[in-house]
Every structure is written in C-alpha cells, then in structure tokens.
Amino acid sequence: MNQAQNPLSLSLRRIWALAHNTFLELVRLKVFYFLLLFAFLIIGSSLFTVQFSFQNPLQVLKDVGLGAMSIFSWLLGLLCTANLLPKDMEDRTLYTILAKPVSRFEYLQGKLYGVFLLLGLSVLLMSLLFAGVLAIREQQEIAELARNLSAENLPAAVAEIRAATFQMNLLPGVVLILLKAMLCSTLTLLLSTLATSSVFTVLTSVVVYLIGHVQGIAREAWLAGGQASPLLKVLIAGMALAFPDLQLFNVVDEIAVGTALPALLFWQVAGFGGMYILVYFLLAQLVFSTREL
C-alpha cells in the first residue's frame, strides 16, 4: 500500500474524512435552507419592530436575534444528529464503512465533528447576518435622530443606540450558545445509539432540553432541602442528578443589557460544557461499541 505512517495521524485523517463527509451530507441535504428562516425572522422583525415606540426597537431586535440563535442552533444540531446513525444503519452504509479499517470510536467522532462543523458555521453565519441587520438599523436610527435632535443631545442618544446593537462583548455569550447546541447534539447522538427509532431520539432529546432548563430550579430546591414529601424529594434529586443545567449557558441576555461576563466565568462555563460533551460522547461510544449491527 502506501508509505508507512504513524497510526495517530492515519486515525485523525480517517476522522476528518468522516467529519467532512458528514458535513457534506448535511450541506447537500440542504439544511442550510433552515437558516433562511432565521434570515426571514431577523429581517422581518427588523421591519416590524420599527413600530414599537414603547420599547427601544433595536433592543427588541437584538433579543429576537439572540433568542432565535439559541433556538435555531439547538434545533439544527438536534435534527441533524438524530438521523445520522439510523440512516447509516438503515442504508447499510455503516457496514461498508466499518468493514474498512475504521474503528467505531473514529466513526462516532467523525459524525459528531461533522455536526459541530455545521453548527459552528451556522452560528457564524447567523451572527454575521444578525450583526449586519443591526448595523443597518443602527445607521437608520442615528440618521433619524440626527434629523430630530439638537446637536447638544445627539451624542448621548447615539451612545444609547450604539449600546443596543451587536457588540463584541456578546461574542462569549454567542460561543456559549454554540456550546449548548453542541452539548445537545452530543446528547442526541448518545440517545440515537440507544434508540431504535429517530422519533424516540428527537422526542427524548426535546424533553431533556426542556427539563434541562428547569433543572436549576429543582436542584436549588433540593439542595436547599425544603419540606417536600419524600417521594417528591427523590424525584427532584433524580432530576438534578440526571439532567444537565442548560440555563447556565444562557448568559447572553444579561450581557445584552450591559452585564460584564468575567473571563474566568466564561472559561468555567465553557469547561463545564466541554466536560458534558466528553461524558456524553464517551457514553455514546460505550453503547455503540457493544451494539450489534
């Protein structure tokens, strides 16, 4: 065959081939059209929010955008991941791939990285579009102000507008949105190694997502040790132990109104998310490696 190479680089090349292929699959399945919805939403609400006089229209637009980014990236990751394994198994492409010198560990990694690649690119595209629309609206608002306000009051009003647009300090918040979507994708991958139908995978993943966002409430109630019935206590404790607290990744709303995210805190939350991704992935590998194909 070809020249002898070290097994690690060969393995990385295989993983990359699988990841690239997964990414290509998703792109050619036209999942990016899904992002058009995001574009419609942002541009639509940018036109729509003009009529809100009671609340700063740019603030509303920003909140729509950040919320939509959070939901869209999650949904994209979930729907793309849920079908990867079942489809390969159904079409028996999995046999062809695993009959090559490819380990299941490499295969699973490749699939997941492909989804991560897609998510990263999607979040980047959404951010760019979002920042672009906000910048245009910002210019319009400032032009409007310049017509209506005296030169004396203008700088303060302009500063207020600027504060409501897309700023660099939002970036760590956006990264955490991406990380949350990646975590949920890994969870979906884990579920799909367990499941026999993708309907089950999707539904369970959605439920975990919803519970993940109230988990914090349950956990704090459990740790505070209130007066609940023993059954309820066990239930709440189970919920706290089994589900991830996804609310911890939602920091962008506070950043948007001016709360500074300390760098250490960002890395702590990011590390926490990374740990979750790792654990879910290893579990998925554990299940997948023993699964009969």
Partner: protein
C-alpha cells in the same frame, strides 16, 4: 449485570460531581449578575404557558420585551393596575436591565400617580385622590428598591431614588442620602454630589454638614462654582455666622463667573 451496576454507579458519581459544579457555577454567575431572573407565579401567569416555556429556553429577554410592549398598550389605555403587573413581570424576567426598572418606576411614581391626582371624575374626594396618588408613588419607590437589589451599583437607579424622595415625597434627608449613594457609584454624573448637598441643606438641623459639603465642593474649583451652589453657600455662611476670615465667599462684588458646564 455487574457491568451495568458499575456503569450506573459511575453515572451516579458523575451526577453528584456535576450537580456540585452546577451549584458552584450558579453561585458564581449570580454574584456576577447572571441568572437572577425569577419566574414566580405572577410572572408565569403573565407569560402564559407558551411564553413560560419560551422564556425558559432562550427567549427570556424577548418575552420581557413583549411584556414590556404590552405594558405600553396598557399605558395608552391608562390601565394602571394592569400596567403595574406587566411591568413587574418584565422586570422579573430581565432584572439586569436598568432601563426597565427606571422606566417602570417613572410610569408608576409620576404618570400613574399624577393621573390619580387628576382623576376627578371617578374620585371626587380630594383626600382619597391623594391617597391613591401616594400609593402609586410607593409602587414606583418599590420598583426602584427592587431594581437596586439586582443592580446595586447602578448610579442611575440611586439618582432616580433621590429624585423621587425630593420631588414626590418632600423628604430631603432621604433624597440627599440617595444622591450621595449615587455619586459613589461607577459612572456617576458630576452633579450628583451637588444634588446631595443641596438636599441636605433643606434638612432642618443639618446646616453645618451641608455647609461643609458645599464648601469642599466650592474649593474643588471653577466647575463646581455654579450660581446655585454659590447662593446656598452664602446663605449658610450667613445663617451659621461663619467668621469673615473663614468664608470662602468674601467679596460679594467679585465676579462669580458663569461657569461653562451645566
């Protein structure tokens, strides 16, 4: 079977570890100003089922905006109690948005309370109108104080509290304290220290302290020597019979100048 138990044990161990990590992260985040929103019963009622789920899963700020916009339409129809509930829900969802607290207090302590005072058609008794007016001032004050719990470092909210005590309560002592607090916050505007001193000067028995504050402001230099400050300082010097030699403002004929700022 043993393997399954082993895995289950490991998972439980991980669950405990991650729960501890989550608790720690939540504490750190709260102290940095994150995760402070409360979704208590009233807020939930205002949101409805769908809105509640949306607020939990990424659309919290947007839900706050929507509540806020609904509060705007309540304002247009002068439905004050409804507006109060909506403002409350919005601030609970987005407690770090200072502008929400600020505007909420303003709509209650000024708009709503004025509206109560002028509400002759529905409430002919002046005394009762006055009671209603003061109730809304109190609601506005409560908004500010609640906002300060979430944003203790906000100069704006402290300033608004000072204004409320000064204009709506005729309570110069508390107004002065609030202004002084505002002046100590990061990003505070320069006039807040003067406001604190002006209010203090209105408090009976605080002449000496007010005088000291005004004097030290005066000594800071030209930008502080505004006509109001100079006038008050002179009055207090007279009132306290400050010896001529100690007076900062000895020659009434000297040009006080018209300082540039404000």
């Amino acid at each position: 079977m043993r393997k399954a138990l082993c895995i289950l044990g490991l998972l439980a161990g991980f669950g405990c570890l991650k729960t501890a990590a989550e608790h720690y992260l939540l504490t750190v985040q709260r102290s940095a100003g994150f995760q402070l929103a409360t979704l208590s019963g009233q807020t939930r009622t205002q949101l409805g089922q769908t809105g509640f789920v949306a607020a939990l899963s990424g659309f919290r700020a947007l839900m706050a905006d929507l509540l806020w916009i609904r509060a705007g339409s309540a304002f247009d129809r002068t439905e004050w109690p409804r507006m109060q509930m909506l403002l409350h829900a919005a601030t609970q969802l987005q407690p770090r948005a200072v502008v929400f607290w600020e505007m909420a207090h303003f709509h209650m302590a000024y708009d709503a309370s004025h509206s109560m005072r002028l509400n002759v058609r529905q409430q002919p008794a002046a005394a009762l109108r006055r009671v209603a007016e003061l109730e809304y001032v109190q609601i506005g004050e409560d908004f500010l104080k609640a906002g300060l719990v979430f944003n203790p470092e906000s100069a704006t909210l402290w300033q608004r509290l000072g204004e409320l005590y000064s204009r709506r309560r005729d309570d110069p002592a508390r107004a002065s304290a609030a202004y002084a607090e505002a002046a100590r916050k990061p990003g505070a505007l320069g006039f807040l220290r003067r406001m604190a001193a002006y209010e203090l000067a209105k408090v009976p028995g605080k002449d000496r302290e007010a005088y000291e504050q005004l004097r030290s402001l005066y000594l800071e230099g030209e930008p502080q020597r505004l006509p109001n400050l100079v006038r008050l300082l002179r009055q207090l010097e007279e009132k306290l019979a400050v010896p001529e030699a100690e007076r900062v403002y000895t020659t009434p004929s000297a040009p006080s100048g018209t300082p540039a700022s404000r």
